[in-house]
Structure formats: C-alpha cells, structure tokens
Symmetry: C2
Subunit: 314 residues, 2 copies
C-alpha cells in the first residue's frame, strides 16, 4: 500500500490504517515526511486536551471518564497515552487497557499507547505527529495522557490546547515535587480521588498557591475542581471547565498562539533530529568515542570537541 492510500484510509477512520501510521511515528519511519505532507490538509480541527500528573493520581480513569462524556455529546474521540520512558510497556499500559475497555467496542473511540524512548528528543516531534494522525482521522477531541513528573509533563503542556493537571490526596512527597513543575503548565487543576482523606488539604494547598500567581486582567483563572473519576463524579464540571478554557483561549488569541508555538517546536525538533543524524553520519560512533576519550584523558575540553563536530557540519 502506498503512503497516499494508507493516509486516505486513515482519513476515512480505518482503525488499522491509523494504527499503522502511529507505529510509523513510533519507529521514526523515513516515510513520515511523506505521511505528514499527505495528512496536513486534513488536520487542524481537533481540540487537543493534555492530561498529566504523577503516577497513581488516576490519569487513565479520568481519561476514560472524559471519553464517556465526550461520546455522550456525539464527538469522536482519540486517546494517545504517551510513555516517554520505555520500550517495554508492561504494567502501566496493561492497566490502561483494563480501564479503557469500556470503549473497546466503540468505533468512534481510538485509543493508542505510544512509546517514544529510543529516538533522542523523540517526544518533541513524535507526539504532535501522532496527534495530527488522530486529528486527520476525524477525531473531534484528542486526549493526550502522559505519565509525568519531569520534563514530559511540561512538554505536553506545549502540545495541548488545554492542559488538565491531576493531583490526588495521599501522594506524599510526590505532590510536593509535582506541584513545583505543574503550576505553570496547568490550565485546569483536578484533585481526583476527592472522596479520600486529605483531598480537602490538597485543594486548600493548591488554592493558596494559585492565588499567589501573578495574573494580569483578562488572564485565565485556573479553576480547581474535584472528581472521583472512578464513579464519574465531577466529570461534567471538568468538561464544562475545558469548554470554558477553550472559549477563553479562542477569544484571547491564546489558542492560535499555542498552535503556532506547537508547530514551531515540532519544526525545530525535526531540524534538530536531522542535524543529530547528520552528526552521526559525518562522524560515526568511532570518531565520537575518540573525541570523548581525548576529553577523558584531559587533552581537550568538551567544548573544543563539540566545535570539531559543529565545524564539520557547516
């Protein structure tokens, strides 16, 4: 099958074609260039919602509940679970599948996990490309779920139109660690497992921190919601908050700014990946090891070694 045929099928929402295209992204296929060229005219209309938070806060359960809510509105939904760490996608993803199985027989829900470990800086270009596939395949909403404490959750914020940050009571140090990174990226905060002890404290804590954030008139005021996603409680309010953020983002011009930034980051990531490949082609592992050994031997510093590489590129 040619790339054009494959893309045509994906645009017709053929599940196998969509899956094959996402696999091509995962594998960093050399055909991606052709794939993206063919997809571009069909993409651009999906609302991209990022869900992030520390492990154990209930991301998959929340995602599943959101899928149910959007399906009730008759929307077609794509779910992309990005696992930036690992090629072995054992426990975590099995868990996802169990939670997602409510939607397994729904033709208007497309769920896909994607591992991007292996290509350096892969998350930066692979995630927007996978989103573009689901978008072009007619998904009205694409939910991007990232296992995230660290770089990855910040990245998903750049990617999404609206970023939902999940927290939960009883996460110990995790919450503290997470809070530092998430405050700047969340458009909406959700304290999930709100029926558990300690939920009030998390809400109070968040509220105090959000209140301290400087905000100009007309800026988005991040709401703090509570949910029990496993029972669907609070999900309608979450959907309403997502819609309110969307409306604000369109009115304020933020929506378009974010999309421009997103594509700009993707373009830069592709360019960097190309340059990285060019470095490897030009120098080879042997030559790079030789440079590294001379730095280890104290014969030159790493900046001088890096100059050798960049000079050869130009």
């Amino acid at each position: 099958m040619t790339v054009d045929e494959l893309v045509a099928r994906a645009v017709d929402a053929d599940r196998r074609a969509i899956a094959r295209l996402v696999s091509m992204v995962e594998d960093a296929s050399p055909l991606l260039r052709e794939v993206m060229a063919a997809l571009i005219p069909h993409a651009g209309s999906a609302l991209v919602i990022g869900l992030t938070g520390a492990p154990g806060v209930g991301k998959s359960t929340s995602t599943s509940a959101l899928v149910t809510a959007f399906r009730a509105q008759g929307l077609r939904v794509g779910v992309l679970a990005v696992d930036p760490t690992s090629p072995f996608t054992g426990g975590a993803l099995l868990g996802d599948r169990v939670r997602m199985q409510d939607h397994a027989t729904d033709d208007d829900v497309f769920i896909r996990s994607m591992a991007t470990r292996g290509h350096l800086g892969g998350l930066a270009w692979a995630t927007p490309q996978a989103v573009r596939i689901l978008d072009a395949a007619g998904c009205d909403v694409v939910l991007v779920e990232t296992v995230g404490v660290g770089q990855s959750e910040v990245d998903v914020a750049g990617l999404a139109d609206t970023t939902v940050v999940l927290l939960a009571p009883g996460m110990g140090d995790g919450i503290q660690a997470a809070k530092a990174g998430i405050l700047e990226v969340g458009d909406i905060f959700v304290v999930n497992k709100a029926d558990r002890d300690g939920a009030d404290a998390v809400v109070r804590d968040l509220r105090a921190t959000v209140r301290m954030t400087e905000r100009a008139p007309g800026d988005w005021r991040q709401p703090i919601l509570t949910t029990v996603a496993s029972r669907g409680e609070g999900i309608d309010e979450l959907v309403a908050a997502i819609e309110a953020h969307r409306a604000w983002a369109v009115d304020s011009g933020t929506a378009q700014q974010r999309r421009v930034r997103r594509v700009r980051d993707e373009i830069q990531a592709i360019a960097i990946a190309d340059l990285r490949r060019a470095i490897a082609d030009l120098h080879g592992d042997e030559r790079l090891d030789e440079l590294a050994r001379s730095v280890l031997a104290g014969e030159q510093d790493p900046y001088v070694a890096a100059d050798t590489i960049t000079a050869a590129m130009r």
Copy 2:
C-alpha cells in the same frame, strides 16, 4: 575574579567558588567553555553514583544515609539533586534541605540542588558539568539524585558509574509505571521503607522480573536490597553493593565504557545546543513563527519547513 581564579578556589574546595560554578552551569553562562577547560585537568577521579526512583520512595533520606556512610570512611562527598522540571524549587527542595541538615556543618560534604528547566536539552550537558565541578573540587564520591519517572531517570543512568534505583511499598500505579523504565537502568535495586506492609511483595515482584532478564556469563547480576533509610538500616549493605559493582565495572571494562559514553553524550549535547542557538540566531522567532503559521495553514508540511532551517545552517 577571573575564571582561572574561581576554578583554582573551587579546586581548593572553597564552597562559595563551587556554588558559583554550579550556578554558572544552571544559568548556561557563556563562560562555561572557559570553566570546563580549566577544570578538565582536575577532574576524573570521583565515583559518580546515581540515585533515582519515583517521588516518595525516599531518595533524599537514602542519599543522606549514604553521605553518613561515606563520611564514616573519611571520604569527601558531593551531592547534586537535579530537578529537571522547574525553576520554582519549592516543596521538594525544602524537604531535601531538612533531610540533609545533618550534614550542613560538615566541611567535607557539599550539597547542591540544580534546576535545569529553561535550557532545552539542558540536563544532558548541565548534569555532567556540575558533576565535573564537584569532582574537580576533590569529592571522592558524587551522589546524583534525580526526581524521576520518565526520561530523566534514564539520563542519570548514562551519567553515573553506578545507578541505584529506589522503590518503596504502597506506591500504587507508580511502581508499575516506574518498573518499566527502571529495569534497564538500575545496577542496584533498593526497596526502601522495608518495614512497611507490602515491601515483601515489591521485592518478590522485582526478583521475578530481574530473573527474567537475559544475562550473558560475566554480566552484572543486579542485587535487590532492602533498607529503612530513615533509621540507617541496610545502608552498609548498600555501600557494599555499590563497591562490588564498582569492582566488577572496573574489571569488566564497563567503567571505562560508561565514562566514554558519558563524555560522548555531553559533547553531542553541547554541539546540539550550539546548533540550536545557531538556528535561533539565523531565523529569529519571527521567521520560525512564520514557518509554523504556513504549516498550520496547510501550505507546507513540517519537514519542508525544517529543511528550510537546516539548509540555511550549512
């Protein structure tokens, strides 16, 4: 003060000079090139130990217990807590400081947190450079602690001579999520908080997984230890395991291979950062936004846009 003077003081273990040099790494100072050139002759002898694991497993407590153990051997110890997420280093680092305050008055312990969010791909070159500073300042052991689920914990493995992966019972989904990423990076596994319910199950689980890993004769057999770091239990055994791994790594040649790889990664990261800067200088935000907007409008695909960038570089 000139760079040479500053480096000379750091090599003499002057705490303020060391702190200033680490800040220069954090700020991506243009003087780093000079700093690294001056440091190179003094560095290379420290044993670098990575500690990683999900939030809440007790990384800081374990680090602190290891500091005590190495100090008892008369070694000079550096601790680098790398927070890849965030410029606001609120809760997490305050916690660290509290746990670390046992060592606050010890002149032979140097503890430093480093935030690297802000420079793209910063962790890749900033962490080895901060390690080099502590190494050149006469630390016999440098403990690098990363808050990590995700890319960052894999990175620290590339950086360290020996990587210790911490787990703890009662972390829910976190453990599962973590396990996937950590099995390939850990040289030593530690189940901390071993006095809590569920510790046995975590050990059993890990043991079963480690047993399934393919291993050639002569390969390192990852030990699984238990600790209660808050009471110092199991720390002597952990130190012994670190020493055993070190001996194996030197004998097998792995130690040298890892160091070569580490410097190679650093050189590449510097080269990539230089190229990234060159892209920004050549094109400017306005031009990059323009390219992004034309992709959004469906006029070109991101690969063609990236070609424009890389072509201009050469």
